[in-house]
Point group: C2
Chain length 511, copies 2
């Protein structure tokens, strides 16, 4: 699953052992000037937080040999003697649902620990829009959300530090990626404007600050860095994805899609890159689906209808009774209904009678609910209705339209596409063949579709290990053209024509 680009180890955090000239009456330079002059000989002009000065006074009382720790161009510590402890840094992928922390030993660039946890904001709303809805209730709510994010990060830092056997003060830097709303909330910034037309973020640029100023406990003067975002709905996680996958600097023509409440789309190659966001709605997270649920125990996460019977994969294992269906299960179910001909290109259920007449092995699973609503029985209490299929069509239609607009901007047709990357945690759970059957991704050969679920974490990690990679990432928003989908005049026409499912390839038809 990894994207595995090789990175030359040139961390943003560096340590210098400095031998300072002993002061005498002919050299009136102050201690700060001595340290800065010594660092200048290493080619560095540093800034510092003023509370470094007390530490420096103590360090220089000990003698002429000191160890300076520099993060970027910021001097964060001066310690007496030659310090043995190694410096570490952490990348955080601050997802709406899942948060992943990766601790890197900067001496060798090895990952020393990884841990993930549910975002503690989840009780305040399952998705970005719900979180913003909570934030709109006032500044206390924003503070609740900020604290919840911080507590999630703090808990993860506990775990990864313990696993690596280091103390918090050995963490010089934390780099965070995530969608724009998550980054706003982490800094306590009201995200309301992201949810209201014309969908403007308060900040998109990278932010660099003292970690303690944001409440993140690492080295007292350690730094917190937030990746930039492409737009209010194409966040810093996508910037990290693009960095990790090399999308903007390889000749390979790629499409990267992060399927979620908002489909985030980046498309291009070294020549040119465009990005856009498509409002898919909550269907992929089980929202607005009659038996929809989140991907927790009891959720149907995989559906296989290819053997003339219903085979389900349920979260929790074989013995667990299916209670509902989550996003990946929905994608599978509708794609399989389409592939088996239970659902037409237009997205309509064929009736049980028609199917029976054709001798379709699943005919008896098609039922009519009250009001004549057709549905497919996946399990005793779990059905998929005609309306659910409509919801999915609407969701995939929006994403397909975003992809179409992005590709049109580049002048690409499907044959130009060399690779389709499914990003985000949901991307890892989608079956590429089923995504293709639905038209959620363009009809490229299925082997060109691949999940790069952890690319955002990977990109953040690359930024820890190489300041050059970080510079590349921070320049991406200036390089990548952002297309506002709602500003496309033919958006509605395109959207409507994308509601239908594509023609099936011969290979896709289940006999």
């Amino acid at each position: 699953m990894g994207v595995g680009r090789f990175v030359l180890l040139e961390p943003n955090v560096r340590r210098f052992v400095l031998e300072l000239p002993e002061p005498d009456v002919h050299d009136a330079r102050d201690r700060l000037a001595r340290v800065r002059d010594a660092l200048e000989l290493e080619g560095l002009e540093v800034s510092y937080d003023v509370d470094l000065l007390p530490a420096m006074a103590d360090a220089l009382a000990g003698g002429a040999l000191v160890t300076a720790t520099v993060v970027g161009e910021r001097l964060i510590d001066v310690e007496p003697g030659e310090t043995q402890g190694r410096m570490h840094a952490v990348s955080i992928d601050l997802g709406t649902t899942t948060v992943v922390a990766t601790l890197v030993d900067l001496a060798g660039g090895a990952v020393a620990a990884v841990s993930s946890a549910i975002n503690r904001q989840t009780p305040y709303g399952a998705d970005v829009i719900a979180r913003i809805g909570h934030a709109m209730t006032g500044s206390d709510a924003i503070e609740e959300l900020r604290r919840a994010a911080l507590e999630t990060i703090d808990g993860l830092l506990d775990v990864v530090c313990a696993e690596a056997g280091i103390g918090r003060q050995q963490l010089a830097e934390v780099v965070v990626v995530g969608n724009a709303t998550m980054l706003h909330l982490l800094l306590g910034v009201d995200p309301t404007s992201i949810a209201l037309s014309p969908f403007v973020a308060t900040f998109l640029d990278p932010q660099e600050l003292r970690a303690s100023d944001a409440g993140v406990r690492i080295h007292p003067r350690g730094r917190l860095v937030l990746f930039p975002s492409f737009g209010a709905y194409v966040g810093a996680d996508l910037v990290a994805d693009v960095l990790a996958t090399g999308l903007a600097r390889d000749p390979v023509r790629r499409l990267l899609v992060d399927v979620g409440t908002n489909g985030e789309i980046v498309c291009g190659s070294e020549a040119r890159v465009v990005a856009t966001a498509a409002p898919a709605g909550p269907a992929f997270e089980g929202g607005q689906i009659s038996c929809g649920m989140r991907a927790t125990e009891g959720a149907i996460e995989g559906v296989d209808l290819s053997h003339g019977e219903v085979r389900l994969q349920v979260i929790g294992g074989d013995g667990v009774r299916p209670e509902g269906i989550c996003g990946s299960g929905l994608v599978d179910a509708v794609a399989q209904l389409r592939a088996t001909g239970v659902v037409t290109r237009a997205g309509l259920f064929r009736s049980a009678e028609q199917l029976e007449a054709d001798g379709h092995p699943l005919a008896r699973r098609v039922v009519e609910l009250e009001g004549g609503l057709k549905a497919f029985e996946l399990a005793p209490d779990v059905v998929l209705t005609q309306l659910d299929v409509r919801e999915l069509q609407s969701a995939k239609g929006a994403i397909a339209t975003g992809i179409e607009v992005a590709m049109a901007a580049l002048g690409w047709t499907v044959t130009d596409l060399e690779e389709v990357l499914l990003a985000g945690s949901f991307g890892s759970y989608i079956d590429p063949a089923n995504a293709r059957v639905l038209g959620l991704v363009p009809p490229v050969p299925v082997e060109r579709i691949r999940a790069v679920g952890n690319a955002a974490s990977e990109g953040a990690k690359m930024a820890l290990m190489s300041f050059r990679e970080r510079e590349v990432a921070f320049e991406l928003p200036a390089v990548v053209e952002y297309l506002e989908l709602s500003a496309q005049e033919d958006f509605n026409d395109r959207f409507i024509s994308n509601l239908a499912f594509p023609e099936l390839d011969e290979a896709e038809v289940v006999a």
Copy 2:
């Protein structure tokens, strides 16, 4: 007393009313970018503290008209609409003994309030060396001293804000001057190295930080600025003195002396300026003097022997019984004893018998204490002994040597000197004629000697009112040559030859 240079009002704190373009779907810029772009049109490229972002989100929710407050190149606030409240700033002269706060209304440049208070560090030691001695007892002591300075400043801010009728949040900036030790302690930096050879400060450069990071309560993102120092013993107050007096940019050849435990000396003109510090010891603060005391009630602060009798000026007024003598009284007493011939050029008391023989009206005031120590009775319980005169000789000898070395570096003789400025609070209390009799200042015509006691406050105030003046001040340490007196090989010889008092002018002799 004021130095009264005119300054063009161009404060470092500025306000801009910005009309931002309404966001629409064709303009994906975030709010921060909108504000920054609008400020760029005003010629400003700003930085900011990240907690500005929540305030900005709130401000921009209100509409397209906002008021931005910028300190230097730092955006500290964005408020909705056109803000009516005026911004203010405060200068602090953080003296070892006395702290003065001056509140300036930046709209018109008027001083809205001034207040002074005793530095609350005083219980921990009367002078810089005593304070450092306390600081050396450990980090708790440094913290005590830091808090004491902060509480002094906080109390003064209460007073000046109340007097001007404004709230703390209307203070955008505080500029502090003071000696290097005071500035170290204000930031909680151990000043020990200043007291130990080779007398190295931890920092001399200007410091600019968030006021709240130092514990100074003004606007939540208001700035605290510390003037630079020339050296460990020629502090930021002297830099402010030089700015206020125009010493480094006028053609007039001036000497500026701040008399204290360390005499601080700056000498020069627009062509060239040198600075040095002379270790005078505590005599000018009443230390090491048999009946010495600080300038508090009961202290003899003025002595006049010119009418053949002892006339005293005692702090507290006529009815107050004299209990001791403070620095300015000591200067007067010894100068008058010298002018009346009671003390010789070498600094020796003539005996009561010799004086009696000459018919000297003060002969009966000269007594012998046990061990044959000669002394002069100023009041029933207040004597000035031969050893006290020696102490004063030593103190003035050090300062005179510093002046001599500084003038020699410039190739100046006494006739080159057009003005002698007595700086610091003590400077206001010294009688210029008596200072000249002692040889504390060179023998220029007495009308060329003048006190500029409040010049440091004045310089700090200039920096509030004009960013150009501030730039000039911050460049001064690079322009002014610092001479380390202890590195002068002939220092001791010069010092010894400066112990004697100068020949008296005819006009100085009291018949």
